[in-house]
């Protein structure tokens, strides 16, 4: 900075007295002329030549945090990109217009008047003028091809520019040589090709412009996600509401939201009650109710109420920012199917150049008169028709649209490989709790054995389970809270994974868990076997509760099946996918749930660590296995599966933990994910096949292989048009994916 001003946002400045301290710390920095803090905005304006890092350091040394206001938001970056793209588009269209203004009349002349041959001095002079005009077009409209080709050449690499520059350059140079050294050429070869040079440059500019427009549409999904971000936030500071840019919101700021407004950053509600539309992130159409201590997520829309919430994640840390980042990364990753293009990438253009030279040599050696003209036309046409861009665009463009489309449906795909594997899944393992069911079990019956009072059983069981995060434990605690029971302190608590818990409450030894736990601890349960079986047959999970080694009660907990699980499982099976259910629950409960949702293959009483064994078993049977779980307990199984699906509830997503994350709880997301990945792979295959066939057929045709048999030769201008539009076709085909609709549900 040279005596300029810069702005810093200060975190942790809770009182007005901090202002003086921060200003003083900054003023003491060498090179700072002045520092003035606007306390309500938590922003300090520094004048002077000191660097930003030094200033941030000084603030930190004074006991506060500072951050720059300079970082561009996604929104700003998108605007900049669109402005730059528009300017580039205009430049291409202008380039095309200038080239075609010369090329079209020349082309018309060659078609109407006939061959563009040179014989008289007047013709030579006229063509010289045309040649110079063409050079002007090459400079104005095609400069970027020639510079790009030269720079690549110096770098020992070759690209699209190389082919265009060589093709158009050769045609122009040959024509100029004919004009200048007419007599050196045989009569029949005294031909100029200025129209080809001008037309090809014009058409390729047009192709690039159309491609740019089509590419813009491939990123509509990410644009929509970025558009979800609010631009400003209303924060409560010093008892006053102030509107500030979203980038200036600090951690722990209180943010006020009124009806109809967007949530600007992530946070926890501290005041008020409302319902929030989260469909834009989760695809879940029903608004979600929010009250104190509930989480709100940036990008969602407040419906009716007003709330104040405390900012817990701001800037690049919000869930929305993570989602945008993940979608962007996934859009740029490549599935294995496209590797062939990677392999041939280094060989393609030089190979085309060699084919061009070989075809010229063949025509010169064996071609009919005028051999030199035939050689030139074929060599040029080979260079022009080859289109590495179509091959290069084939996979990434489809991935871009497919991953974006999935994100719109609430499905986050981690990378291209996950996308490709998901399309091949043959077996899907579903965890029962939280995946097929809501994962929010409720106490539905209490069968007393030695205990005499339900409340007493619940009070003790809930006290024991209070520290556990297991969904069944949560249901017991909630049930106790509903009955307004006061929980006691638990001592010597011990969780026995996959079995239950034990501990001491009010001096009593408590044991709470499944049948296996009771048998392991020698608690007699034979008398209640029938009761437990009856509960299980009704899809309730029987939980045994023992006090001092005696069975006190059996508590039936049932976890309601998500209302669309049956339909979604039907969709999976219709696609020929083997659906398998896993649960830690007992067999009878598992069977009751499996029967209800139409699953015939299930494994009950599976310990968490055994889940990955089940995945491995299916893989050994030759299946490509998808595993769906909550992303936390199932982590090893998710990691081992060919594709791990983490199923989110609401926006509480573990987006980093799985190959594919379903942001809403519905299993339809699973079927959607598979359907989108299949559609994307189909689209990639179409693109790759099209691009390969185009190049494989176009290049020999351009080289003139059909001439000996049918007397057909391709014009370089037609080759230029074909090349320009082959890329556009690939991008447009990828855009067709945008119209893809997952099956109605």
């Amino acid at each position: 900075m040279d005596g300029g001003t810069q702005e810093l946002l200060i975190e942790g400045a809770g009182c007005a007295s901090c202002v003086g301290k921060i200003e003083k710390a900054l003023k003491n920095v060498h090179g700072v002329d002045d520092a003035v803090m606007n306390f309500p905005l938590r922003m300090v304006t520094v004048t002077g030549s000191a660097g930003e890092d030094v200033l941030i350091n000084a603030v930190e040394n004074a006991g506060y945090n500072a951050k720059s206001t300079q970082g561009s938001t996604d929104d700003e970056l998108l605007d900049e990109k669109e402005t730059a793209d528009l300017a580039y588009y205009k430049r291409l269209i202008l380039g095309m217009t200038v080239a075609l203004v010369l090329g079209v009349p020349l082309m018309a002349y060659s078609l109407i008047v006939g061959e563009m041959t040179v014989s008289t001095t007047t013709e030579r002079l006229s063509w010289l003028v045309v040649g110079l005009l063409t050079a002007g077009v090459m400079f104005f409209s095609g400069k970027h091809f020639y510079i790009g080709a030269w720079k690549s050449f110096c770098n020992h690499s070759a690209n699209m520019d190389t082919l265009i520059a060589l093709g158009t350059g050769t045609a122009w140079l040959y024509s100029m040589l004919v004009v200048f050294f007419l007599t050196a050429f045989p009569d029949m070869a005294r031909h100029v090709y200025f129209e080809a040079t001008a037309m090809i440059i014009g058409l390729i500019n047009l192709g690039l412009a159309l491609e740019l427009k089509a590419r813009g549409r491939t990123s509509l999904a990410i644009k929509r996600l970025i558009g979800l971000q609010a631009k400003t936030a209303r924060v409560v500071r010093g008892g006053k509401d102030i509107d500030i840019p979203i980038g200036h919101v600090l951690l722990n700021d209180l943010v006020r939201i009124r009806p109809g407004e967007k949530i600007p950053v992530d946070g926890l509600v501290v005041e008020g009650y409302t319902s929030i539309d989260e469909s834009m992130l989760t695809g879940e159409p029903m608004p979600v109710e929010k009250k104190e201590s509930n989480e709100v997520v940036a990008g969602t829309i407040n419906k009716t109420g007003s709330v104040v919430f405390k900012a817990t994640r701001v800037g690049k840390d919000t869930a929305l920012a993570h989602i945008i980042g993940m979608v962007k990364r996934a859009q740029n990753s490549k599935p294995p199917i496209g590797r062939l293009a990677d392999i041939i990438s280094g060989y393609f253009v030089p190979t085309i150049m060699i084919i061009s030279v070989v075809s010229a040599l063949v025509w010169l050696n064996f071609g009919p008169d005028p051999a030199v003209a035939f050689a030139l036309v074929c060599a040029t046409t080979v260079l022009i028709i080859a289109c590495p861009c179509a091959l290069g665009l084939a996979t990434p463009m489809s991935v871009m649209v497919g991953v974006g489309k999935a994100a719109e449906a609430g499905v986050l795909i981690r990378n291209g490989e996950a996308l490709q594997t998901a399309s091949k899944i043959t077996a899907m393992i579903l965890d029962k709790t939280g995946t097929i069911t809501l994962g929010a079990p409720k106490v539905t019956s209490i069968h007393l054995v030695t205990a005499s009072d339900e409340d007493n059983v619940l009070q003790l069981a809930a006290s024991l389970e209070a520290g556990s995060e297991h969904p069944l434990a949560v249901s017991i605690v909630e049930s106790a809270q509903e009955r307004e029971l006061h929980l006691s302190k638990v001592e010597r608590f011990n969780a026995i994974a996959g079995h239950g818990v034990e501990g001491f409450v009010d001096g009593q030894a408590l044991l709470f868990g499944n049948e296996r736990l009771m048998r392991d601890k020698n608690v007699a349960i034979d008398d209640v076997v029938n009761t437990a079986q009856h509960m299980a047959a009704e899809a309730q999970t029987p939980m045994y509760f023992a006090v001092d080694g005696q069975l006190a009660a059996v508590i039936g907990v049932s976890d309601p099946i998500k209302e669309d699980s049956i339909e979604a499982i039907k969709r999976l099976k219709k696609n020929g996918i083997r659906v398998v259910m896993l649960t830690g629950d007992n067999k009878a409960t598992a069977k009751a749930v499996a029967d209800k949702v139409g699953i015939t293959e299930f494994f009950a009483e599976v310990l968490p660590e055994d889940k990955s064994n089940k995945v491995a078993d299916l893989q050994q049977q030759g299946e490509i296995v998808g595993m769906t779980g909550d992303g936390i307990n199932d982590a090893p199984a998710l990691a081992l599966a060919n594709v791990g699906f983490a199923i989110g509830t609401g926006t509480d997503v573990a987006i980093e933990s799985a190959d594919i994350t379903l942001m809403r709880g519905s299993l339809h997301g699973l079927a959607d994910a598979i359907a989108i990945s299949k559609a994307t792979l189909r689209n990639i295959k179409q693109n790759l096949l099209g691009a390969f066939i185009y190049n494989a057929a176009g290049v020999p045709f351009a080289a003139g292989v059909l001439y000996p048999f049918f007397g057909v030769l391709l014009s370089p201008v037609i080759a230029g048009a074909a090349m320009a539009f082959s890329s556009v076709t690939v991008v447009s085909n990828a855009n067709r994916l945008r119209l893809f609709k997952a099956q109605e549900h």
């Binding site: 970056l77 900049e80 720079k151 060989y347 060699i354 040599l361 010169l364």
Partner: protein, 124 residues
Amino acid sequence: MMLIINIVGLLLIVGIVWWFWLYKPSELDVNSDVSELLITVENGVYSPSRVSIPSGQVTAVKFLRKEASPCAGTVVFADMNISEELPLNKEKTIQLPALEPGTYSFTCQMQMQMYKGEITVSEQ
């Protein structure tokens, strides 16, 4: 006459093979001061396209895209799962994690890797 033309043609083919496939650059473009590592994206190439950084330390690489073509708009470090959009005429800093010695390529988003560069990570 044809003999000369054929020899020239064959030499051209040999030249293409050598220049684009066989030639191995021995010198790296940038070797020392990684604190000022700026890679310009212009006219279809990264410049410098071959750079060297020491192993085992996080390195910031600055990219400056001067070319409006959308092909230049994204740089991908596939080995590191990094892909970043490059704004036009504005420096963009990309943090590379501490890397093991080896060669890592960076490319444009498109698969034919029209833009290609290499980072050589060498023992410190």
